[in-house]
Protein backbone atom coordinates (compact mmCIF):
# COMPACT_ATOMS: atom_id res chain seq x y z
CA UNK A 1 0.00 0.00 0.00
CA UNK A 2 1.60 3.20 -1.10
CA UNK A 3 -0.27 6.42 -1.46
CA UNK A 4 0.45 10.00 -2.26
CA UNK A 5 1.70 12.04 0.69
CA UNK A 6 0.09 15.46 0.95
CA UNK A 7 1.26 16.78 4.26
CA UNK A 8 4.34 16.88 6.45
CA UNK A 9 2.80 14.41 8.82
CA UNK A 10 5.12 11.70 10.03
CA UNK A 11 2.11 9.48 10.60
CA UNK A 12 0.99 9.94 7.02
CA UNK A 13 4.48 9.13 5.74
CA UNK A 14 4.68 5.97 7.84
CA UNK A 15 1.27 4.84 6.62
CA UNK A 16 1.92 5.79 3.01
CA UNK A 17 5.14 3.81 3.02
CA UNK A 18 3.10 0.78 4.00
CA UNK A 19 4.42 0.42 7.52
CA UNK A 20 2.15 -0.85 10.27
CA UNK A 21 1.66 2.41 12.12
CA UNK A 22 1.48 2.93 15.86
CA UNK A 23 -0.09 5.90 17.56
CA UNK A 24 -0.29 6.70 21.22
CA UNK A 25 -2.45 8.92 23.32
CA UNK A 26 -1.70 11.58 25.89
CA UNK A 27 -4.15 13.29 28.18
CA UNK A 28 -3.06 16.86 28.95
CA UNK A 29 -2.89 17.83 32.64
CA UNK A 30 -5.70 19.51 34.53
CA UNK A 31 -3.37 22.42 35.08
CA UNK A 32 -0.79 24.54 33.29
CA UNK A 33 1.91 22.03 34.23
CA UNK A 34 4.24 21.72 31.27
CA UNK A 35 6.42 19.25 33.15
CA UNK A 36 3.62 16.68 33.25
CA UNK A 37 3.34 16.70 29.47
CA UNK A 38 7.10 16.37 29.15
CA UNK A 39 7.12 13.47 31.61
CA UNK A 40 4.41 11.57 29.75
CA UNK A 41 6.07 12.33 26.43
CA UNK A 42 9.21 10.49 27.54
CA UNK A 43 7.41 7.16 27.54
CA UNK A 44 6.00 7.75 24.09
CA UNK A 45 9.06 9.09 22.30
CA UNK A 46 10.40 6.71 19.64
CA UNK A 47 7.80 4.12 20.58
CA UNK A 48 4.99 5.52 18.47
CA UNK A 49 4.70 7.44 15.20
CA UNK A 50 2.51 10.15 16.60
CA UNK A 51 0.45 10.83 19.68
CA UNK A 52 -3.19 11.88 20.01
CA UNK A 53 -3.60 14.82 22.34
CA UNK A 54 -7.08 14.67 23.75
CA UNK A 55 -9.31 17.73 23.70
CA UNK A 56 -10.90 18.06 27.13
CA UNK A 57 -11.74 14.37 27.16
CA UNK A 58 -14.88 13.35 29.05
CA UNK A 59 -15.69 17.06 29.09
CA UNK A 60 -13.25 17.71 31.90
CA UNK A 61 -11.22 20.89 31.51
CA UNK A 62 -7.56 20.28 30.74
CA UNK A 63 -4.70 22.10 29.09
CA UNK A 64 -5.70 22.75 25.48
CA UNK A 65 -4.82 20.07 22.97
CA UNK A 66 -2.98 22.58 20.81
CA UNK A 67 -0.75 23.75 23.67
CA UNK A 68 -0.04 20.25 24.95
CA UNK A 69 0.55 19.08 21.37
CA UNK A 70 3.17 21.75 20.82
CA UNK A 71 4.94 20.86 24.07
CA UNK A 72 4.97 17.25 22.92
CA UNK A 73 6.38 18.20 19.53
CA UNK A 74 9.18 20.18 21.23
CA UNK A 75 10.12 16.85 22.81
CA UNK A 76 10.49 15.27 19.40
CA UNK A 77 7.23 13.36 19.02
CA UNK A 78 4.53 14.27 16.57
CA UNK A 79 1.10 15.25 17.85
CA UNK A 80 -2.35 14.34 16.58
CA UNK A 81 -4.23 17.29 17.87
CA UNK A 82 -7.79 16.34 18.70
CA UNK A 83 -10.67 18.74 18.24
CA UNK A 84 -14.19 18.10 19.51
CA UNK A 85 -17.37 19.71 18.21
CA UNK A 86 -18.73 20.32 21.69
CA UNK A 87 -16.81 23.45 22.58
CA UNK A 88 -16.31 25.49 19.41
CA UNK A 89 -18.43 26.95 16.69
CA UNK A 90 -17.26 27.04 13.08
CA UNK A 91 -15.54 30.38 13.60
CA UNK A 92 -13.40 29.10 16.45
CA UNK A 93 -12.79 25.80 14.67
CA UNK A 94 -11.50 27.35 11.47
CA UNK A 95 -9.43 29.81 13.42
CA UNK A 96 -7.87 27.05 15.54
CA UNK A 97 -7.26 24.94 12.45
CA UNK A 98 -5.31 27.78 10.82
CA UNK A 99 -3.48 28.47 14.06
CA UNK A 100 -2.58 24.84 14.67
CA UNK A 101 -1.22 24.42 11.15
CA UNK A 102 0.76 27.64 11.46
CA UNK A 103 2.33 26.38 14.68
CA UNK A 104 3.45 23.13 13.12
CA UNK A 105 0.65 20.70 13.90
CA UNK A 106 0.44 18.11 11.13
CA UNK A 107 -2.42 15.91 12.24
CA UNK A 108 -5.85 16.98 13.34
CA UNK A 109 -8.29 14.40 14.60
CA UNK A 110 -11.91 15.33 14.98
CA UNK A 111 -14.57 13.91 17.28
CA UNK A 112 -18.11 14.77 18.31
CA UNK A 113 -16.95 15.03 21.90
CA UNK A 114 -18.41 13.54 25.06
CA UNK A 115 -21.47 15.35 26.30
CA UNK A 116 -20.64 17.81 29.06
CA UNK A 117 -23.24 16.27 31.34
CA UNK A 118 -20.67 13.97 32.93
CA UNK A 119 -17.75 16.36 32.86
CA UNK A 120 -16.68 18.88 35.45
CA UNK A 121 -18.79 21.67 33.91
CA UNK A 122 -22.26 20.18 33.45
CA UNK A 123 -23.70 23.72 33.54
CA UNK A 124 -21.93 24.60 30.29
CA UNK A 125 -23.72 25.52 27.08
CA UNK A 126 -22.62 23.15 24.39
CA UNK A 127 -22.02 24.17 20.81
CA UNK A 128 -22.19 21.33 18.26
CA UNK A 129 -22.37 23.84 15.44
CA UNK A 130 -20.76 21.32 13.09
CA UNK A 131 -20.66 17.60 13.74
CA UNK A 132 -17.59 15.45 13.21
CA UNK A 133 -18.50 14.57 9.61
CA UNK A 134 -19.05 18.25 8.79
CA UNK A 135 -15.78 19.18 10.46
CA UNK A 136 -13.83 16.62 8.47
CA UNK A 137 -15.29 18.05 5.27
CA UNK A 138 -14.43 21.55 6.44
CA UNK A 139 -10.78 20.77 7.10
CA UNK A 140 -10.53 19.00 3.77
CA UNK A 141 -12.03 22.01 2.03
CA UNK A 142 -9.61 24.36 3.76
CA UNK A 143 -6.70 22.14 2.80
CA UNK A 144 -7.59 20.96 -0.70
CA UNK A 145 -9.78 23.74 -2.02
CA UNK A 146 -8.04 26.47 -0.04
CA UNK A 147 -11.33 27.92 1.09
CA UNK A 148 -13.00 28.73 4.36
CA UNK A 149 -16.66 27.87 4.91
CA UNK A 150 -17.41 31.50 4.13
CA UNK A 151 -15.96 31.00 0.66
CA UNK A 152 -12.97 33.18 1.55
CA UNK A 153 -9.98 31.90 -0.36
CA UNK A 154 -6.65 31.08 1.24
CA UNK A 155 -3.68 32.22 -0.86
CA UNK A 156 -1.70 29.35 -2.32
CA UNK A 157 0.76 27.93 0.16
CA UNK A 158 -1.14 29.29 3.16
CA UNK A 159 -3.66 26.47 3.45
CA UNK A 160 -3.55 24.27 6.55
CA UNK A 161 -1.75 21.13 5.44
CA UNK A 162 -3.22 18.74 7.90
CA UNK A 163 -3.53 14.97 7.87
CA UNK A 164 -7.16 14.55 8.86
CA UNK A 165 -8.16 11.98 11.43
CA UNK A 166 -11.41 10.72 12.81
CA UNK A 167 -12.82 7.97 14.96
CA UNK A 168 -14.90 4.90 14.22
CA UNK A 169 -16.70 2.71 16.65
CA UNK A 170 -17.74 -0.77 15.54
CA UNK A 171 -19.12 -1.46 19.01
CA UNK A 172 -21.70 1.28 19.33
CA UNK A 173 -25.22 0.76 18.02
CA UNK A 174 -26.91 0.15 15.68
CA UNK A 175 -24.21 -2.32 14.75
CA UNK A 176 -25.09 -2.59 11.08
CA UNK A 177 -25.04 1.13 10.59
CA UNK A 178 -21.57 1.64 12.05
CA UNK A 179 -19.68 0.92 8.87
CA UNK A 180 -21.99 3.27 6.98
CA UNK A 181 -21.20 6.06 9.39
CA UNK A 182 -17.48 5.40 8.88
CA UNK A 183 -18.22 5.55 5.17
CA UNK A 184 -19.66 9.04 5.61
CA UNK A 185 -16.41 10.12 7.21
CA UNK A 186 -14.42 8.53 4.40
CA UNK A 187 -16.64 10.29 1.90
CA UNK A 188 -16.16 13.57 3.76
CA UNK A 189 -12.44 13.14 3.27
CA UNK A 190 -10.97 11.72 6.42
CA UNK A 191 -7.41 10.42 5.91
CA UNK A 192 -7.20 8.08 8.86
CA UNK A 193 -9.63 6.63 11.34
CA UNK A 194 -8.89 5.20 14.76
CA UNK A 195 -11.28 2.89 16.52
CA UNK A 196 -12.74 2.82 19.99
CA UNK A 197 -11.02 0.28 22.34
CA UNK A 198 -11.40 -3.19 20.92
CA UNK A 199 -12.14 -6.19 23.09
CA UNK A 200 -14.77 -7.84 20.94
CA UNK A 201 -12.59 -9.25 18.17
CA UNK A 202 -15.34 -11.08 16.26
CA UNK A 203 -17.36 -7.89 15.97
CA UNK A 204 -14.27 -5.96 14.91
CA UNK A 205 -13.38 -8.54 12.25
CA UNK A 206 -16.91 -8.40 10.90
CA UNK A 207 -16.73 -4.62 10.71
CA UNK A 208 -13.37 -4.61 8.94
CA UNK A 209 -14.44 -7.22 6.43
CA UNK A 210 -17.34 -5.01 5.45
CA UNK A 211 -15.19 -1.87 5.34
CA UNK A 212 -12.76 -3.68 3.04
CA UNK A 213 -15.65 -4.87 0.84
CA UNK A 214 -16.97 -1.36 0.51
CA UNK A 215 -13.54 -0.15 -0.53
CA UNK A 216 -13.24 2.18 2.45
CA UNK A 217 -9.79 0.94 3.40
CA UNK A 218 -8.51 1.95 -0.03
CA UNK A 219 -9.30 5.56 0.69
CA UNK A 220 -8.65 5.85 4.39
CA UNK A 221 -6.22 4.23 6.81
CA UNK A 222 -8.07 2.30 9.51
CA UNK A 223 -6.25 1.92 12.81
CA UNK A 224 -7.33 -0.46 15.56
CA UNK A 225 -7.72 0.95 19.07
CA UNK A 226 -6.03 -1.03 21.81
CA UNK A 227 -6.34 -0.46 25.55
CA UNK A 228 -4.95 -3.26 27.69
CA UNK A 229 -7.20 -4.35 30.55
CA UNK A 230 -5.57 -3.59 33.89
CA UNK A 231 -7.77 -5.82 35.97
CA UNK A 232 -10.91 -7.92 36.09
CA UNK A 233 -12.65 -4.96 37.71
CA UNK A 234 -11.80 -2.72 34.76
CA UNK A 235 -13.05 -5.35 32.32
CA UNK A 236 -16.37 -5.56 34.14
CA UNK A 237 -16.65 -1.81 34.43
CA UNK A 238 -16.03 -1.34 30.73
CA UNK A 239 -18.56 -4.01 29.89
CA UNK A 240 -21.31 -2.63 32.07
CA UNK A 241 -20.78 1.08 32.30
CA UNK A 242 -19.14 2.46 29.20
CA UNK A 243 -21.58 3.04 26.34
CA UNK A 244 -20.17 1.94 23.02
CA UNK A 245 -17.65 -0.56 24.36
CA UNK A 246 -18.21 -4.28 24.05
CA UNK A 247 -16.32 -6.69 26.29
CA UNK A 248 -17.17 -10.33 25.51
CA UNK A 249 -17.68 -12.80 28.34
CA UNK A 250 -14.66 -14.84 27.21
CA UNK A 251 -12.48 -11.83 27.88
CA UNK A 252 -14.00 -11.44 31.35
CA UNK A 253 -13.48 -15.10 32.19
CA UNK A 254 -9.93 -14.99 30.87
CA UNK A 255 -9.16 -12.11 33.25
CA UNK A 256 -11.03 -13.88 36.05
CA UNK A 257 -8.94 -16.98 35.42
CA UNK A 258 -5.71 -15.44 36.63
CA UNK A 259 -4.84 -14.29 40.16
CA UNK A 260 -5.22 -10.59 40.87
CA UNK A 261 -1.50 -9.85 40.87
CA UNK A 262 -1.14 -11.42 37.43
CA UNK A 263 -4.01 -9.55 35.82
CA UNK A 264 -1.94 -6.62 34.54
CA UNK A 265 0.36 -9.09 32.84
CA UNK A 266 -2.60 -10.97 31.38
CA UNK A 267 -4.11 -7.75 30.07
CA UNK A 268 -0.88 -6.87 28.32
CA UNK A 269 -0.69 -10.40 26.92
CA UNK A 270 -4.18 -10.11 25.49
CA UNK A 271 -3.32 -6.72 23.99
CA UNK A 272 -0.20 -8.14 22.33
CA UNK A 273 -2.19 -11.04 20.88
CA UNK A 274 -4.68 -8.52 19.52
CA UNK A 275 -1.92 -6.44 17.98
CA UNK A 276 -0.47 -9.55 16.35
CA UNK A 277 -3.81 -10.36 14.87
CA UNK A 278 -4.29 -6.77 13.69
CA UNK A 279 -1.02 -6.96 11.78
CA UNK A 280 -2.59 -9.69 9.71
CA UNK A 281 -6.10 -8.31 9.44
CA UNK A 282 -6.94 -7.02 6.01
CA UNK A 283 -7.58 -3.31 5.96
CA UNK A 284 -5.97 -2.57 9.33
CA UNK A 285 -3.15 -0.10 8.76
CA UNK A 286 -1.92 0.18 12.31
CA UNK A 287 -2.80 0.28 15.96
CA UNK A 288 -3.74 3.11 18.22
CA UNK A 289 -2.57 2.54 21.79
CA UNK A 290 -4.81 4.26 24.28
CA UNK A 291 -3.03 4.11 27.59
CA UNK A 292 -4.24 7.29 29.18
CA UNK A 293 -2.67 7.81 32.62
CA UNK A 294 -0.77 4.59 31.95
CA UNK A 295 1.64 6.07 29.43
CA UNK A 296 4.64 4.45 31.15
CA UNK A 297 3.41 1.05 30.00
CA UNK A 298 3.67 2.02 26.33
CA UNK A 299 7.34 0.96 25.99
CA UNK A 300 6.48 -2.47 27.44
CA UNK A 301 3.62 -3.08 25.03
CA UNK A 302 5.53 -1.78 22.04
CA UNK A 303 8.41 -4.09 22.93
CA UNK A 304 6.31 -7.17 23.64
CA UNK A 305 4.20 -6.67 20.55
CA UNK A 306 7.39 -6.23 18.53
CA UNK A 307 6.32 -2.87 17.20
CA UNK A 308 9.69 -1.17 17.55
CA UNK A 309 11.89 0.26 16.33
CA UNK A 310 9.56 2.72 14.64
CA UNK A 311 10.41 3.43 11.02
CA UNK A 312 12.21 6.66 10.09
CA UNK A 313 10.51 8.05 7.01
Amino acid sequence: MSREVRTNSNLEKVLAAGHFAVTGELGPPRSADRAEVIEKAKHLKDNVDSVNITDNQTAVVRMSSLAAGLILQEQGTEANMQMVCRDRNRIAMESDILGAAALGINNLLVLSGDHQKFGDHPQAKNVFDLDSVNLIATIKMMRDERRLLSGQELPEGTEPRLFIGGAFNPFADPEDYRVLRAAKKVEAGVDFLQSQCIYDMPRFRKFMARAVDMGLTEKTYFMAGITPLKSLGMAKYMKNNVPGISVPDEMISRMAGVPKEKQVEEGIKIACEQIDEMKNTKGVAGVHLMLIEWEHMVPTIVKEAKLNPRPKV
Binding site: H115, F118, F128, T138, Y177, R181, K184, P243, G244
Partner: protein, 224 residues
Protein backbone atom coordinates in the same frame (compact mmCIF):
# COMPACT_ATOMS: atom_id res chain seq x y z
CA UNK B 1 -47.49 22.82 22.30
CA UNK B 2 -45.18 24.68 24.61
CA UNK B 3 -44.46 22.45 27.56
CA UNK B 4 -43.79 23.97 30.94
CA UNK B 5 -43.79 22.98 34.58
CA UNK B 6 -44.47 24.86 37.76
CA UNK B 7 -41.54 26.45 39.49
CA UNK B 8 -40.64 25.08 42.92
CA UNK B 9 -43.13 26.34 45.49
CA UNK B 10 -40.44 27.98 47.59
CA UNK B 11 -39.27 30.05 44.66
CA UNK B 12 -42.79 31.28 43.94
CA UNK B 13 -43.24 31.98 47.63
CA UNK B 14 -40.07 34.06 47.68
CA UNK B 15 -41.52 36.29 44.91
CA UNK B 16 -44.42 37.31 47.10
CA UNK B 17 -42.83 37.16 50.55
CA UNK B 18 -43.71 40.78 51.33
CA UNK B 19 -46.92 41.04 49.28
CA UNK B 20 -50.44 41.28 50.65
CA UNK B 21 -52.56 40.98 47.55
CA UNK B 22 -51.67 38.70 44.71
CA UNK B 23 -53.33 37.71 41.46
CA UNK B 24 -52.57 34.33 39.90
CA UNK B 25 -53.22 34.40 36.17
CA UNK B 26 -53.55 31.20 34.17
CA UNK B 27 -53.62 30.59 30.44
CA UNK B 28 -55.99 28.35 28.52
CA UNK B 29 -53.44 27.67 25.78
CA UNK B 30 -50.59 25.17 25.77
CA UNK B 31 -50.03 25.22 29.51
CA UNK B 32 -53.60 24.11 30.13
CA UNK B 33 -53.03 21.16 27.84
CA UNK B 34 -49.80 20.21 29.58
CA UNK B 35 -51.43 20.66 32.99
CA UNK B 36 -49.03 23.35 34.14
CA UNK B 37 -50.93 26.62 34.13
CA UNK B 38 -54.64 26.24 33.39
CA UNK B 39 -57.60 27.08 35.61
CA UNK B 40 -57.01 24.01 37.71
CA UNK B 41 -53.33 24.64 38.31
CA UNK B 42 -54.13 28.27 39.12
CA UNK B 43 -56.55 26.96 41.76
CA UNK B 44 -53.95 24.63 43.22
CA UNK B 45 -51.24 27.25 43.42
CA UNK B 46 -53.57 29.90 44.82
CA UNK B 47 -54.86 27.48 47.42
CA UNK B 48 -51.39 26.41 48.45
CA UNK B 49 -50.30 30.03 48.76
CA UNK B 50 -53.32 30.84 50.90
CA UNK B 51 -52.75 27.84 53.13
CA UNK B 52 -49.10 28.76 53.49
CA UNK B 53 -50.01 32.28 54.58
CA UNK B 54 -52.67 30.93 56.94
CA UNK B 55 -50.10 28.64 58.45
CA UNK B 56 -47.70 31.51 59.12
CA UNK B 57 -50.50 33.83 60.19
CA UNK B 58 -49.69 36.21 57.33
CA UNK B 59 -52.35 38.36 55.79
CA UNK B 60 -52.55 37.44 52.13
CA UNK B 61 -55.27 37.69 49.54
CA UNK B 62 -54.85 35.50 46.50
CA UNK B 63 -57.24 35.95 43.61
CA UNK B 64 -57.45 33.74 40.55
CA UNK B 65 -58.12 34.45 36.91
CA UNK B 66 -57.44 32.51 33.73
CA UNK B 67 -57.15 34.15 30.33
CA UNK B 68 -57.93 32.58 26.99
CA UNK B 69 -54.29 33.14 26.04
CA UNK B 70 -51.49 35.27 27.40
CA UNK B 71 -49.73 35.59 24.07
CA UNK B 72 -52.25 37.89 22.41
CA UNK B 73 -52.73 41.53 23.40
CA UNK B 74 -56.53 41.39 23.19
CA UNK B 75 -56.68 38.85 26.00
CA UNK B 76 -54.12 40.71 28.07
CA UNK B 77 -56.43 43.73 27.78
CA UNK B 78 -58.99 41.74 29.73
CA UNK B 79 -56.77 42.05 32.80
CA UNK B 80 -57.22 45.82 32.94
CA UNK B 81 -60.16 45.67 35.29
CA UNK B 82 -58.26 43.39 37.63
CA UNK B 83 -55.02 45.36 37.43
CA UNK B 84 -56.98 48.42 38.52
CA UNK B 85 -57.75 46.62 41.76
CA UNK B 86 -54.08 47.19 42.61
CA UNK B 87 -52.43 43.86 43.16
CA UNK B 88 -48.99 43.86 44.76
CA UNK B 89 -47.95 41.14 42.35
CA UNK B 90 -49.21 39.12 39.43
CA UNK B 91 -48.06 35.53 39.19
CA UNK B 92 -48.37 34.44 35.59
CA UNK B 93 -48.88 30.74 35.03
CA UNK B 94 -48.41 30.96 31.26
CA UNK B 95 -45.23 30.05 29.44
CA UNK B 96 -42.65 32.83 29.71
CA UNK B 97 -44.33 34.66 26.85
CA UNK B 98 -47.29 35.49 29.07
CA UNK B 99 -45.57 37.44 31.85
CA UNK B 100 -43.68 39.44 29.23
CA UNK B 101 -46.89 40.43 27.49
CA UNK B 102 -48.46 41.39 30.81
CA UNK B 103 -45.45 43.52 31.78
CA UNK B 104 -45.44 45.18 28.36
CA UNK B 105 -49.10 46.15 28.72
CA UNK B 106 -48.97 47.06 32.43
CA UNK B 107 -45.42 48.33 32.96
CA UNK B 108 -46.07 49.51 36.52
CA UNK B 109 -47.29 46.09 37.57
CA UNK B 110 -44.98 43.72 39.41
CA UNK B 111 -45.16 40.44 37.43
CA UNK B 112 -43.48 37.10 38.14
CA UNK B 113 -43.24 33.89 36.14
CA UNK B 114 -44.62 30.90 38.01
CA UNK B 115 -43.64 28.34 35.43
CA UNK B 116 -40.38 27.24 33.91
CA UNK B 117 -40.90 26.97 30.16
CA UNK B 118 -39.20 23.85 28.90
CA UNK B 119 -39.73 22.96 25.27
CA UNK B 120 -41.94 22.52 22.26
CA UNK B 121 -43.26 19.03 22.30
CA UNK B 122 -46.22 16.78 22.78
CA UNK B 123 -47.74 14.25 25.13
CA UNK B 124 -46.27 10.81 24.63
CA UNK B 125 -49.07 9.66 26.89
CA UNK B 126 -51.15 11.39 29.51
CA UNK B 127 -48.71 12.77 32.04
CA UNK B 128 -45.58 12.34 29.92
CA UNK B 129 -44.40 15.12 27.63
CA UNK B 130 -41.49 14.92 25.23
CA UNK B 131 -39.45 17.46 23.32
CA UNK B 132 -39.81 17.46 19.56
CA UNK B 133 -38.75 20.82 18.18
CA UNK B 134 -36.21 23.52 18.86
CA UNK B 135 -37.47 26.10 16.42
CA UNK B 136 -34.37 26.10 14.22
CA UNK B 137 -36.36 27.94 11.58
CA UNK B 138 -35.66 25.54 8.74
CA UNK B 139 -37.38 22.20 9.18
CA UNK B 140 -35.67 19.22 7.58
CA UNK B 141 -37.17 16.30 9.48
CA UNK B 142 -38.19 14.67 6.20
CA UNK B 143 -34.49 14.02 5.62
CA UNK B 144 -34.33 12.06 8.84
CA UNK B 145 -37.26 9.72 8.54
CA UNK B 146 -39.58 12.27 10.11
CA UNK B 147 -37.51 12.63 13.27
CA UNK B 148 -35.72 15.74 14.45
CA UNK B 149 -32.07 15.23 15.39
CA UNK B 150 -31.70 18.86 16.40
CA UNK B 151 -34.12 18.67 19.29
CA UNK B 152 -33.82 14.97 20.01
CA UNK B 153 -30.08 14.33 19.84
CA UNK B 154 -28.14 15.59 22.87
CA UNK B 155 -25.49 16.86 20.46
CA UNK B 156 -27.86 17.96 17.67
CA UNK B 157 -25.79 15.89 15.25
CA UNK B 158 -26.58 16.02 11.56
CA UNK B 159 -24.65 12.83 10.91
CA UNK B 160 -25.14 10.55 13.88
CA UNK B 161 -25.16 8.40 15.82
CA UNK B 162 -22.06 9.24 17.81
CA UNK B 163 -20.00 6.58 19.54
CA UNK B 164 -22.02 6.97 22.72
CA UNK B 165 -25.11 5.25 21.34
CA UNK B 166 -25.65 1.85 22.91
CA UNK B 167 -28.75 -0.35 23.07
CA UNK B 168 -30.82 2.45 21.60
CA UNK B 169 -30.11 4.88 24.40
CA UNK B 170 -28.03 8.01 24.59
CA UNK B 171 -24.75 8.30 26.48
CA UNK B 172 -26.19 11.05 28.66
CA UNK B 173 -28.84 8.84 30.27
CA UNK B 174 -30.46 5.47 29.98
CA UNK B 175 -33.77 7.36 30.05
CA UNK B 176 -32.99 9.24 26.85
CA UNK B 177 -33.57 7.39 23.61
CA UNK B 178 -30.92 7.79 20.93
CA UNK B 179 -32.81 9.43 18.12
CA UNK B 180 -30.02 8.53 15.73
CA UNK B 181 -30.56 4.89 16.58
CA UNK B 182 -34.17 5.30 15.48
CA UNK B 183 -33.29 7.32 12.38
CA UNK B 184 -30.61 4.95 11.14
CA UNK B 185 -32.63 1.86 11.96
CA UNK B 186 -35.49 3.24 9.92
CA UNK B 187 -33.14 4.11 7.07
CA UNK B 188 -31.75 0.58 7.05
CA UNK B 189 -35.21 -0.97 7.21
CA UNK B 190 -36.45 1.11 4.31
CA UNK B 191 -33.31 0.40 2.31
CA UNK B 192 -32.28 4.04 2.17
CA UNK B 193 -29.23 3.82 4.40
CA UNK B 194 -26.81 3.03 1.61
CA UNK B 195 -28.46 5.14 -1.07
CA UNK B 196 -30.45 8.26 -0.29
CA UNK B 197 -29.10 8.61 3.19
CA UNK B 198 -25.50 7.79 2.35
CA UNK B 199 -24.24 11.30 1.52
CA UNK B 200 -23.25 13.32 4.53
CA UNK B 201 -25.90 15.75 5.65
CA UNK B 202 -24.67 19.25 4.90
CA UNK B 203 -23.56 21.75 7.48
CA UNK B 204 -26.57 23.25 9.16
CA UNK B 205 -27.25 26.93 8.62
CA UNK B 206 -28.17 28.18 12.08
CA UNK B 207 -28.91 31.73 10.97
CA UNK B 208 -32.63 30.98 10.86
CA UNK B 209 -32.41 29.70 14.41
CA UNK B 210 -32.13 31.80 17.55
CA UNK B 211 -28.44 32.15 16.73
CA UNK B 212 -29.46 34.70 14.12
CA UNK B 213 -30.95 36.88 16.85
CA UNK B 214 -34.52 37.20 18.12
CA UNK B 215 -36.96 36.42 15.34
CA UNK B 216 -40.03 38.18 14.10
CA UNK B 217 -42.64 37.06 11.61
CA UNK B 218 -44.48 39.74 9.65
CA UNK B 219 -47.39 38.82 7.40
CA UNK B 220 -48.26 41.97 5.51
CA UNK B 221 -51.64 40.69 4.39
CA UNK B 222 -52.66 40.28 8.02
CA UNK B 223 -51.20 43.46 9.44
CA UNK B 224 -53.78 46.21 9.90
Amino acid sequence: MIVAERKPFDEIKSFIADKKKVLVVGCRGCVTVCNAGGTKEVGLLASELRLDAQKDGRDLTVDEHTLERQCDPEYIEELLELVEKKYDAILSMACSVGPQFIVARYPEQDVYPSLNTLFMGGAKQHGIWVERCQGCGNCVIHNFGGMCPISRCAKSLQNGPCGGSADGVCEISKDVECIWHLITTKMMETGKAETEFAPAQPIKDWSTSRDGGPRTVVREELVK
